[in-house]
Each structure stands twice: as C-alpha cells, then as structure tokens.
Amino acid sequence: MSFADHLESLLQILSAGLLLGCLYGLMCAGLGLIFGIMRVINFAQGEFMMLAMYAGLNGVAFLAPGRAWAFPVAMAVALAVALLFYGIGAATHFLLVSRVSGSRVVGSEDGGHTGQLILTLGLSLVLQNGGLMLFGSSPTSIGNAAADNSWTVGPLWGEDVMIFVNQARAWSAILALVAVGLTILMMNRTGVGRRLRAVASNPVAAVYMGVDVERAFRTAFGIGLALTAIAGVCVATFYPFQPYTGFDFVIIMYAGVVLGGMGSVGGAFLGGLVIGLVQQLSTLVLAPQLQNTAVFVVFLAVLLVRPQGLFGRGVERA
C-alpha cells in the first residue's frame, strides 16, 4: 500500500471511530449516571435502549415525514423519547430497583448487589422477549435519506485521498455531544446536579445534608435512561435492530464507563469515545475479527494499570 492509502485509511477510520465513539460515549454517560451515582449494575440498560429504538421508529412512522425529512424528525423524536424514558426510568427505579438498592439494603452483607444483578438480568429477559412478542423478529431501522448519504471531504492529498462522512452518523454524533454537554452543565451548575454529585460521593453525608437520596437516585436513573434513549434513537437511524440488539451494546457501555472512570459524566463519555476509537482503529493493525478482543484487552490493561479509569480521579476502588 502506498502512503496515500495509509493516510486515507487512517483518516477515514479515525473519523468513523470518532463518530461511533460519540454515540458510545452518550450511552456510557447515561449508564455512568446510574452506575457511578448509585453503584447499581443495571444489566437491562441495553434493553431499555432497544425499547427506545422501537419508540423512535414508531414515533417517526406515526409522523410519516417521508425519507427526506425522516432524519430531522427522528432527532426531534429522540428528545421526546428521552422525556418518555426519563419517566420510565423514574418509574422503574421506584417500582423495582429501589427495592434492592439504596436505603433498603444498607447494612446487608453484599450491599444488595445480588438482588440488583438478578433483578436486572430478569428484567432484561422480560424486555427482550416481551419485545419479540410486541415488535416481531424482523430487523428494522428508521428509514431516512441522511443515512444513505455522506459528505465527501477532499481530495485531501493527490487525486483520490478522500474521506466519506455519513450524514446520519455525523448529526447523531453532534446531538450526542450536545446532550452530554448539557448534562455536564446540569451536573455542575444546577441544584439537581449538586445533589446528584453529593449523593454520588457520599450518600450517608448527603442524607445529613438534607438530600433526599431516594429521590436523587430516581432522578439519576431517569436521566441515565433518557440519555441512553437518545443514543438508541440515533443508532436506530443507521443500524438495523431487533429485540435482542440491546445486549450487544450493554457490554460496551460498561467497558466505557469503567474505562472512563466512575462518577463523572464527562469521564464516562470519554470512556465510550475511547472504546469506539479502539474498536475501529484496531482494524488498522489486527484482523477485523479481533476488534472486540482489542476492546477488551485495552479495557483490561487500563483497568489493571490505572484502576480509577483513564479520566477518573484517585477514587477508592474498593
């Protein structure tokens, strides 16, 4: 391969990794809020994302904007779906998760993890299979013109070094950046955010400070699902999905959150971004089959060398 070949491949795959990484980052930010603040492992997160994909699909189908306008409409629908999933998240926490987490399990031997694991694994089974019964098994996606088109950048070098940027992926990445940016602002600038951070760093102290911890957890769960839902609708515009799709993503989400460092939305986002980049860039040197091996090896290596995550501060990791 010539130099031009290498250059183009590097740039092209870098851009693909960045675009995908932004969406992974958004998913991770959502999960990071739940895992980082509540220390609850939610295995059903991927299934909630799958439900959001179907919600987005049906929302767009209901508005029937036609292929050309489908993408902007999908983005608007994503925000509506986020609101819906905020509610679903709060309700799920209230009805299910709160029974095996937070104050209910203080003093229990394992901190309630047993209950949380089984509960969310059970929930994920129910949602996957319920999805199959409700939506059927055919892979589907939100049909739109943006996903079919790309912007061409270049020629950058010589005659044919060009980069193609898929429009749907690019707009989705921008939306992801905006959503994460707003969430970070909210965490740092508003009362809700301060309460969430207080609860995250020390739930007991937060109680003494008069924070309603259960409510804060409910909020965190809601926002976490809302962010993941936005990511879900974005992915649905260019990725065919079916009721079992969620599970493929949940592992990536956890890897990103832990890699980034727990307890910060920005860290989780960057963790997801790194996962996206590693996944794509690894193909430059390894067989494409080993993409996910590369992801998990990097994940393990980072965790073992720097247990607090790439972007986490020196947190107690016990």
Partner: protein, 409 residues
C-alpha cells in the same frame, strides 16, 4: 401406482383449493413430523420463515388427502423452538426424538444448530431433513440425514462461473480482481474454502482482499475503506445477519462504489428477504446478486403466488420454499415406504429419484440423494435485485429474469 400418486400429489399442491373436498378415509390416522427452528432469540425471523413453509405444506398435503399409501393418514406438524443456543436445540431435539410417534424431523436453520440437532436425531435413528449448507453437516458419515441444499463448497462457484461468462459477453471486459468480506460463521467460511483453495485461479480471478469479521459489525467503515483502496472488479459479501448486510452495502454506497459501480455478489439468503429491502431501499439493492440453496422457480409461479398470498410474504425465500419442499419430500417418501417406520422412511427418502412432486420445489427439477444424504447434482438459486424484487436469474430454466452485469444507474 406410485407414480400416479406422486402426480396427483403435485396436482393438489398446485391447485390445492380445488381438491379441498377430497374425502379422507375413515381409518386415517395422523403421522407426526417435526420442525425444529429458532422462534425466539436473534434468529427468530428465519425460524418464522421456515415455519411458514412447513405449515403451508402440511395444510396442502392434508387437503390433498394425506398419505394415500397409508390410508389417507394426515400429517401433523410439531414445531419446537430452537431458541438461541446449542443447549436449547439439543434439549428440544431430545424431546422430539423421545416421541415414538414422530417419523421425521426438519431444521434447525443455523448450521451449528443443525449439527447439534442431528447429533441427537442420528442416535435416535430419526430421519432428519435440513436446508443447512455447511459441508460439515454431511461429512460426519450420518445415515439418517437428508440435506437438500448444495453444499457450501459448491454454492459460490454456481454463481461465479456464469457471472464471469456473462461479464465477458456484456461488460466487454473480464473482471480480474475480487474482494471478499465474510462473517466468520461456519457456513460463510466453508463457502470460501473452494475459492481459497485454488478456485480463484481457475476462474482467473485475483484476490485483492480477503477479510473476515465477527458479527455483529458496529461499523463497516474499516472493511469498506480497505475495499476502496483495493479497487476490485467484483465484491463478495458473505453475511448472516441483516444488520451486517445493511452496514456493508450502505457504506459501499456511501463510498461511491454502490448501485452497480462494482458488482456485488452475496452468497446468503438474508440478502433476498423483504426486511433487507425495507432496511436498504430498492435503489441501493438494485443489481445485487444473491446466491442461496434454493429460490423461487418461474415454472412454479402459480404455487408460489398461492403461497405468497397465504403467508402474507411479498415473495418466498429459501427458508420458506425449502421447508415446503421438505414436507412434500417426506410425504412422497411416506407414500413409497407405505409405513411410518423410521428406517423404512429413511430408506425411501434416500431412494428418492424424481422430477415430480417435491422436486418441483427445488431448482434443477430433479431430486435424488447421494449416500451421505446430500442432494445429488444440487442446483443453487441465483437471484438478482431488479426493481425492488430479488428475482431468480439462474438456472435459466427457472429464471424470472435474465442475469445482467450490474451497471451504474
């Protein structure tokens, strides 16, 4: 005698509604056959298509009077869910073979599932009919196994040879380079074996890219980028999951190589499903050439129209067609065996040698089997997307349309 009954069976299959009133004999009993296929889990859609075919065929056989050699005995279809794991397949197969009344089984779509299911059926001496292609299925020396599709080792050559011949005629220039992207499922990997072992040289093709990936892809960019730099004359995309097919073709189009600029050959039935049309749109698919173990034949248009109408599918894919055929094949063998004994049925299945009845459901029109249970002289179905329909283009006798060398629109 046998011949007549086969003919009448065919007639009923073609014009089932007319013969609905055929009286069943009083002493008729039921003969149980089973279909094991994924109905839940990520492969559920394929299982649904298989079940449609088998269900319709049983309806038609029964409507035509059941198994006449056995006093008009009716077929009864037991469907079992193969789920998403080898364990579920094995448990379901074990449950099926435990039923002493069961005379034959069919399934289980994915080759790993079929491998597991037939390990059980072979030990129980239950005749098993499958459409799975992987060579490994018939390479185990099993005696109770029938495989109706061409094996993986033949499927690609079936399409490549005529395609290249055509290219010489209509494109004016023989393609000389090929880029191959395959997922690492057993079936797509064994598809590649003959090409990798000297097959390409025989076709005067040079491989400029040969990459495998593990499904599901998250993004096809790295693969298509490599393909772009390799500048092949012909692209081969071997996938199993619709999401991978979509990402690959989508990205190919984005990179300015789609819609016929580079001919795409796809050796998998998933490239001919209605859902891939829904996900990609007719424009992107136009000209894509698919290869499958079986596809709809023009000669059977009335039957196919009838089945489409009853199943609600816009057209039939291999999963539905072959399973319809499998039920007819078993019914035909039962007629000849005249008994529900598993060994006698198996003997009759292997002895099948017909151009009628079930043979009509398989391309090539002649159905017979080798000792290992693999169909003798099997014919692959080649289809090409034209105006939003995957139309059969090869073999010519069965073609709805002519194979054309894709040209940019």
């Amino acid at each position: 005698m046998i011949k007549t009954s086969r003919r009448s069976l065919l007639a009923t299959a073609l014009a089932a509604p007319a013969i609905l009133s055929w009286p069943a004999r009083a002493q008729a009993r039921t003969i149980k056959i089973a279909l094991l296929t994924p109905l839940s889990g990520p492969l559920a859609r394929s299982g649904e298509l298989e079940r449609t075919g088998a269900t319709l065929a049983v309806e038609d056989v029964n409507a035509a009077g059941g198994i006449k050699a056995m006093g008009g005995a009716k077929l009864e279809l037991t469907v079992a869910d193969a789920g998403a794991s080898v364990e579920q397949v094995t448990a379901a197969a074990q449950r099926l073979v435990a039923d002493q009344d069961l005379v034959a089984g069919m399934g289980a779509w994915a080759s790993s599932f079929t491998l597991a299911a037939t390990e059980v059926s072979e030990r129980a001496k239950l005749p098993w009919v499958t459409l799975s292609w992987a060579d490994s299925i018939t390479n185990r020396g099993f005696r109770y196994l029938i495989a109706t599709s061409p094996p993986s080792s033949q499927i690609l050559l079936a399409a490549l040879q005529p395609l290249l011949a055509l290219a010489g005629k209509s494109a004016g220039r023989m393609p000389s380079t090929i880029a191959m992207i395959n997922d690492d499922t057993a079936v797509n990997q064994s598809n590649m074996v003959p090409l990798r072992n000297g097959g390409l040289e025989k076709l005067n093709l040079k491989s400029v890219m040969d990459e495998n990936f593990t499904p599901p892809l998250s993004d096809a960019t790295p693969l298509i980028q490599r393909l772009r730099r390799a500048k092949p004359d012909l692209v081969l995309l071997g996938t199993t999951a619709t999401s991978d097919s979509r990402l690959l073709l989508q990205t190919l189009t984005e990179f300015g190589m789609g819609q016929g600029k580079v001919p795409v050959l796809a050796p998998s039935a998933n490239w001919g499903t209605p859902e891939i049309l829904k996900n990609l749109g007719a424009n992107n698919l136009e000209g894509v050439i698919g290869v499958a173990g079986n596809w709809g034949s023009k000669q059977q248009k009335p039957l196919i129209d009838n089945l489409c109408h009853r199943s609600g599918e816009p057209w039939l894919v291999q999963d539905t067609l072959s399973n319809y055929g499998h039920v007819l094949l078993i019914a035909d063998a039962l007629e000849r065996a005249g008994s529900a004994d598993r060994d006698k049925l198996m003997e009759a299945l292997l002895a099948t040698d017909t151009k009628e009845g079930p043979a009509k459901l398989f391309l090539g029109g002649h159905l017979s089997f080798e000792k290992n249970g693999r169909r003798a002289n099997p014919v692959a179905g080649v289809f090409q997307w034209k105006n939003g329909v995957p139309q059969t283009v090869l073999p010519e006798a069965d073609a709805f349309a002519e194979l054309t060398w894709p040209r940019p629109a």
